[in-house]
């Protein structure tokens, strides 16, 4: 039994029911009856787990199909979602962000996450290796602006470029799938150039589907590159001569994203106004100029010379264990108060010198002396 009927949903979200269930809220009661019942929160049940790669040299990848609660608002192709998992044993809930790999979903509709089990990633390892159908997970609504702006149902002459590396293929795959699903007669309805970099053919996620897309009459050109072949502006120019004037989506590790930025002639964190949209797993750690000054963590008394890395990494290097989540400036788990000094947001490049300011230490690097209450 699921709570999908919309009159029921509006009743559950009504002020009357909120008043009756104050101060805990409706969801704290519904969850006791059925974990799939919710008025505000989003949760999901794992429907199936499919192995994508076994991971001979690299970490294995699996695709999880999720049935969300009726509260799921759907997603646009390219968005990600925060996934919270209560890890067995420690019983601690860890929250990480994963891109959605299936085509755009409507409210309450099933969707898929395609996840690589990183060695150090407790959440990804659990989801890939241990999660079984029936497993409940906690979700946010879909988030992120790295989305397909084109309506697949409307044919245009706009050329689209997708560039991805490793498991950065997931949001891009969601876009291509959306274009092919919603386009006319299984076609993308415009020319799409899809350039992907993987370590090896064995490590290629979605290999079969990509081969089908490449072979099909659908306007999508698929170019797969393996091993040492890194992204080059030369190669992109050969495939798409006017690429700087073409809407481009790029997703992958920080190194790839930096190369793509250079090719498009824009600085990291200032791509606004260009045709390039990017998403990365870890922020590119570009230190502008030499790192100077002293970093101090006032609560623990630890301190060291500024290395230019994020405050989270510098704290960890000093043996501290601050709380963190996404490590990419999304989830706000790591927010701490900076009491003195200037920090630069490594994602946006913005600098800030306000005293007693709450900052996300995972994406904040000190500029000169800096004191954080940690």
């Amino acid at each position: 039994m699921s709570l999908t009927a919309s009159p029921l949903q509006s009743l559950l979200r009504s002020r009357a029911l909120a008043a009756l269930t104050s101060p805990h809220g409706v969801d704290r009661y519904l969850e006791q009856v059925n974990p799939m019942w919710a008025a505000h929160e989003v949760r999901a049940r794992v429907v199936s787990v499919r192995r994508e790669t076994v991971g001979v040299d690299t970490a294995p990848v699996a695709t999880l199909t999720l049935q969300p609660t009726a509260t799921w608002g759907g997603h646009r192709a390219g968005q990600y979602v925060q996934v919270g998992v209560d890890l067995p044993g420690s019983a601690k809930r860890f929250t990480r962000c994963f891109s959605i790999s299936s085509a755009a979903s409507a409210p309450g509709e099933q969707f898929t996450l395609t996840i690589r089990a990183h060695d150090e990633g407790q959440v990804s390892s659990f989801l890939v290796a241990q999660a079984q159908p029936g497993q409940m997970i906690h979700l946010s609504q879909a988030m992120g602006d790295f989305t397909l702006t084109e309506s697949p149902a409307t044919p245009t002459i706009n050329h689209l470029v997708m560039i991805s590396g490793g498991s950065g293929i997931t949001p891009v795959m969601s876009m291509v799938r959306t274009l092919l699903r919603d386009g006319y007669d299984g076609r993308a309805n415009r020319k799409v150039t899809f350039l992907h970099y993987a370590r090896s053919p064995e490590d290629q996620i979605f290999a079969e589907e990509l081969a089908e897309i490449a072979a099909g009459d659908n306007h999508v050109d698929v170019h797969l590159r393996y091993g040492d072949r890194v992204f080059s502006e030369f190669e992109l120019r050969r495939l798409v001569p006017d690429f700087r004037d073409v809407d481009t989506w790029a997703c992958g590790p920080g190194g790839l994203i930096e190369l793509v930025h250079a090719a498009y002639g824009v600085d990291v964190g200032s791509a606004q106004g260009s045709r390039l949209r990017v998403e990365f797993f870890k922020p590119p750690m570009t230190v502008s100029g030499p790192a100077e000054g002293q970093v101090s963590f006032s609560r623990s008394g630890a301190g060291a010379a500024n290395t230019g890395a994020s405050l989270l990494e510098q704290a960890e290097a000093l043996g501290l264990e601050p709380e963190f989540g996404c490590r990419m400036g999304i989830c706000f788990s790591c927010t701490k108060t900076k009491t003195e000094g200037t920090v630069r947001n490594v994602v946006t490049g913005a600098e800030s010198s306000l005293p007693d300011e709450d900052i996300q230490i995972c994406v904040s690097a000190p500029v000169g002396d800096c004191v954080v209450d940690l």
């Binding site: 101060p23 805990h24 704290r28 006791q32 919270g84 209560d86 044993g89 809930r93």
Partner: protein, 401 residues
Amino acid sequence: MTITQDPTATATATATATTATTEARVPGDDQLRRLTTEQLDAFGAEMDAIRQRVLGQLGQEDADYIRKVVKAQRGFEVAGRALFYLPPAWPLAVAALSVSKILDNMEIGHNVMHGQYDWLGDPGLNSRMYDWDNVCPGEQWKYSHNYIHHTFTNILGKDRDIGYGVLRMDSDQKWHPYYLGNPVYALLLMVFFEWGVAMHDLEVENIVSGKRSLEDNKAIYPGLMRKIKRQALKDYVLFPALTGPLFPLTFAGNATANLIRNIWAFNIIFCGHFPAGVATFSEEECENESRGHWYYRQLLGSANITGGKLFHVMTGNLSHQIEHHLFPDLPARRYPEIAEEVREICDRYGIGYNEGPLGQQLLSVAKKICRFALPDKKSDLVPSFLRKPAAGTVTETSLAA
């Protein structure tokens, strides 16, 4: 440090020993023994070791336990609300709702808001998110309780939980004819305990004494009023209205459940803080205090109530107030196992470990409330020629009478 001992057990009604040294005093059976700085450090290290070990053990069992309690609480609450539709089941409905409110406020609310389960990472059991089913906004309680009370436990002039700014619970609180009403104030505080807890943050006694201005309270009013309105709307308007013609019965039932919770919580908390033998400290004694002295102060400033497993759950494990004061952020379900170790350590250091059954602790608290209604110097009330020299056994009953 002031230790008030049971006058029936010792020759003096109160043994006052205020020292300004770093050395602390320990109540013995008939004399006070000093604990050296080294002993305090060693004692503190043993407490730290317990804390570290338990922190390392936290896991699935603790998570399962607190979720089980939450499930039970929600069950009692829904059952209680539903049973009001059956007028003959009214006592049952009140009982279920009382149990729900007690579990919510004590084993869940108090402990979750202490951050005991923050490590779970579950927003539903997080100290920053949780709010309890009574009129005191959790946000305001956390400041006065977690910070002021648990940091400055039983330091006179700092810990506002000593007598809650209303009662005189210690001989070092200067007597005033106002305190003749001590037993009446205590009775009122018990009946309206949730309101007392909510108003506590307004620091009325500090406003009266001029230490705080009404202006300082302005920031507190909106949150307080919001919470009061929500609680009143739920318990005294909406749920009674939902039972239609049974409105008065449901209204009375909800009020009774709140009253039962008030009486229970008041008594458990007073038995944890104010039985005879519990010590208070002066600000001078606690200046630059060591970790060991902090633990020592926590230990002497609290008392336990003995009882069965269900009793401990219903008190939110605050029947182990000693362990709670020592380790306020460890999950309370761990206190019974920790208590055995703490008791053994106290034995070795010769530190008194104050525990007793509910009836005994209640009686002791009641005596204290009555005794401190009167001035300490018996001469103030009793002419000197009537006092027996040396014996000094002015009994509780004669004073309270």
